[in-house]
């Protein structure tokens, strides 16, 4: 056959494909089984959250954030609330802080369990899926006990949380958390030292620390390369500066290290929850000054003195402009990475602009780099290992 007759096989993976975790579409150019080029196409789940939020009050925006990363909606809510609280300068009560931390870590465990389940399923280990679902179910039922919803919770409020938690909940949670490290042990016996698992994950999808920073990775994919960056430690929010935990780091930045990092992270989450239950203070769960933004919201009252500035050009209007549009950025460590909310406010009841810095979006961008030159099966392993949720990526 002449050279010009050789063509690459173009395979359209997705948007409907069992291993793309939603509606990610990858166009793969294959040479045999080797991926020559990989082009991700996103946007199939674009709902215009950023645009919609410009037309909703701050309180109405909250349920929208549930729909971003639907596997850990609690952390999305917390991120949004933190941003709004920062904007308005609300101090939330200590009890609410602890409850948020506790709930956030529960959500992290839930999300990591789903990740482990689907990741293992992608690589072919089916049994782990049902083991993790058993434990996730327990946590979801606990969510339901407090919130009434299992997945899209909308539990945190601007200024605290919606309702208090009771003894029964804490009791059940404590019993679960006591036992949880054993459960992680169970998953690890299934795959941790399995030769097939090791062969599939070690040395595959490697990314170095410099590249990871350059590509803007956050969360476990960044930490697997050995870079110490965790929003919870760097810019502590809620009660994270009052609990002890470690940030697990990897070394090689391959799929196996990402897996290891997340497994350790679950253990640390269990530790945080335990401390939260032990240290849980009494008091209010919703700040008193949070009532300023009741629905339908009244205009915000931000003290203009808090906005400090220096202007170097001769323009009278600029001062007015700066005072009219204060802006904040608040980020949380979501299970996927750094989830940030950037809000520009115009002192009305609605955000002038709400920007969601979605970790999944950044992580999908790095997929071609991870996949090109490897085999088709590694594409699947890579998608699983960076743990994406398309709802968050497309917004």
């Amino acid at each position: 056959m002449r050279q010009s007759d050789v063509k690459e096989l173009i395979v359209n993976m997705g948007p409907q494909h069992p291993a793309t975790h939603g509606v990610l579409r990858l166009v793969l150019e294959l040479e045999g089984e080797v991926v020559k080029r990989c082009t991700p196409y996103i946007g199939y789940l674009h709902r215009g959250v950023e645009k919609l939020s410009e037309d909703l009050t701050y309180v109405q925006c909250l349920p929208l954030t549930d729909r971003l990363d639907y596997l850990s909606s609690m952390i999305n809510n917390i991120g949004f609330c933190l941003a709004v609280e920062k904007l308005m300068g609300i101090n939330i009560p200590k009890r609410a802080k602890f409850i948020r931390t506790l709930m956030g870590e529960m959500a992290r465990i839930c999300s990591h369990l789903v990740w482990l389940a689907t990741h293992a399923l992608d690589i072919g280990a089916m049994t782990v899926f049902l083991y993790t679902m058993r434990d996730r179910e327990y946590l979801l039922e606990l969510f339901e006990m407090v919130v009434g919803a299992r997945l899209t919770v909308s539990y945190p409020r601007v200024g605290g949380v919606r309702c208090d938690i009771n003894e029964e909940f804490l009791d059940k949670l404590y019993r679960f958390i006591e036992d949880f490290p054993n459960k992680i042990q169970q998953y690890e016996t299934l795959i941790d030292r399995n030769r097939v698992w090791l062969k599939r994950t070690k040395g595959v999808g490697v990314i170095t620390a410099e590249e990871a920073i350059n590509w803007g990775l956050t969360g476990p994919p960044l930490r697997a390369t050995g870079v110490y960056y965790d929003v919870r430690k760097f810019f502590p929010y809620d009660a994270y500066d009052e609990v002890e935990f470690e940030v697990p780091l990897g070394k090689n930045g391959d799929i196996y290290d990402r897996y290891k990092c997340r497994m350790q992270e679950m253990r640390q989450s269990a530790r945080i929850i335990k401390q939260c239950i032990e240290k849980l203070p009494t008091g209010l769960v919703l700040a008193e000054d949070a009532l300023r933004i009741r629905m339908p919201a009244s205009p915000l009252k931000i003290d203009k003195k808090e906005i400090q500035f220096e202007v170097y050009i001769e323009d009278k209007k600029i001062e007015e402009f700066i005072q009219k549009f204060p802006e904040v950025y608040a980020s949380v460590e979501s299970p996927k990475g750094e989830l940030g909310f950037y809000i520009v406010c115009d002192h009305s009841a609605k955000p002038y602009r709400m920007r969601v810095r979605a970790p999944s979006f950044v992580h999908i961008a790095v997929l071609p780099k991870l996949c090109e030159g490897f085999l088709v099966a590694d594409v699947i392993a890579n998608i699983g290992s960076i743990d994406i949720v398309l709802g968050e990526c497309d917004r």
């Binding site: 395979v11 072919g124 280990a125 399995n194 599939r200 099966a377």
Partner: protein, 332 residues
């Protein structure tokens, strides 16, 4: 007159044999779901009949009545032909497999070669389906499957050479009889390397985990039969399970002494000889079937290049070493 009688009796035998075989296959699916279910902390089918015992029947009825979808761009003739090629290849192998003393449809002298040859024909069904579906996933799946089956057939064949050397025959009944001449009654012990190679290649030949690349759900959706539905889909499924049974029977016959009970066991426990040979045979077959299910419940999937490396770099050399050792022992 003799010829007519022979034809008649063979037809009846075949019908009975295959009827029972297909029932076994149907319930193998049920067993698989139950076994995997219990491995995975769930119960498996529970609705149709007590403990879901009628589930396979319900499945068959459902698959029969499903709409038969043929893709518009498919090569229709080959598309329809493919499942039958797979199925008939899988079914034909059972013609020479003895389940008990003289319980065999055709006791030919090259039984082992026949089984390997016909089982190899099944690959055509896979290639046909992958090509005719006109879908890239199916095509990739069939390519993978072909490469995999061809390379593992080598290992499979080589692993059985040791057995043939020891039995000095290709006839499957003869192989069983020969094993009975030794006190341990199984080639499993002298041929342990061969058995290991055989089991691994058996998993690869039947496209089961950890070597189920051709139908890897998460990579190629369902591999070569992704475009098939209804009854045609079920024919592929049937062929896969028949291949499992075929390989398990082969393992039982060549390494575990078929229907015979090791003489040492009969000597120590004389009551064992009451057990009919067929029960003993089925026990051995179902042990291997269980092995298939068990591995599916526990192992992840290999990658394509790793699978090939295992086949060519580990299994074939091992099988060759086994042949050398066996021949040396034979000479000595």
């Amino acid at each position: 007159m003799d010829t007519v009688y022979l034809i008649f009796i063979t037809t009846v035998k075949t019908a009975v044999y295959f009827g029972i075989l297909l029932l076994h296959v149907a319930y193998a699916t049920y067993t698989e779901r139950k076994v995997i279910g219990h491995i995975q902390l769930r119960l498996g089918p529970m609705i149709v009949g007590p403990h879901g015992i009628l589930q396979p029947i319900a499945d068959i009825v459902k698959l029969l009545f499903k709409e038969d979808i043929i893709p518009a761009k498919a090569d229709k003739f080959i598309f329809k032909l493919a499942p039958f090629v797979s199925l008939s290849a899988a079914l034909s192998t059972f013609a020479v497999i003895p389940v008990n003393k003289n319980w065999v449809i055709s006791d030919i002298n090259v039984g082992l070669l026949y089984v390997l040859g016909i089982a190899g024909l099944g690959t055509y069904g896979v290639i046909f389906s992958g090509w005719a579906s006109n879908s890239k996933y199916a095509f990739l799946g069939s390519l993978r499957s072909t490469a995999q089956m061809i390379s593992y057939e080598v290992a499979l064949g080589l692993s059985l050479v040791g057995v043939v050397l020891m039995a000095e025959s290709f006839n499957l009944s003869e192989i069983v009889n020969r094993q009975n001449e030794y006190w341990y009654g199984m080639f499993l012990f002298p041929q342990i390397i061969g058995y290991f190679v055989f089991v691994v290649s058996m998993l690869a030949e039947t496209n089961r985990l950890p070597f189920d690349l051709p139908e890897a759900e998460t990579e190629l959706v369902a591999g070569y039969f992704v475009e098939y539905s209804g009854i045609r889909f079920s024919l592929f499924y049937l062929a896969e399970y028949l291949a499992m049974f075929c390989m398990s029977s082969l393992a039982a016959i060549c390494f575990w002494g078929g229907w015979s009970i090791p003489p040492i066991l009969v000597k120590t426990f004389p009551f064992l000889s009451i057990i009919p040979g067929v029960v003993w045979f089925l026990l051995k077959v179902y042990f291997h079937i269980f092995l298939f299910f068990w591995l599916r419940g526990t192992l992840p999937r290999y990658r394509y290049d790793q699978l090939m490396a295992i086949g060519w770099k580990i299994l074939i050399p091992l099988a060759l070493i086994n042949i050398v050792i066996t021949s040396l022992l034979k000479i000595l």
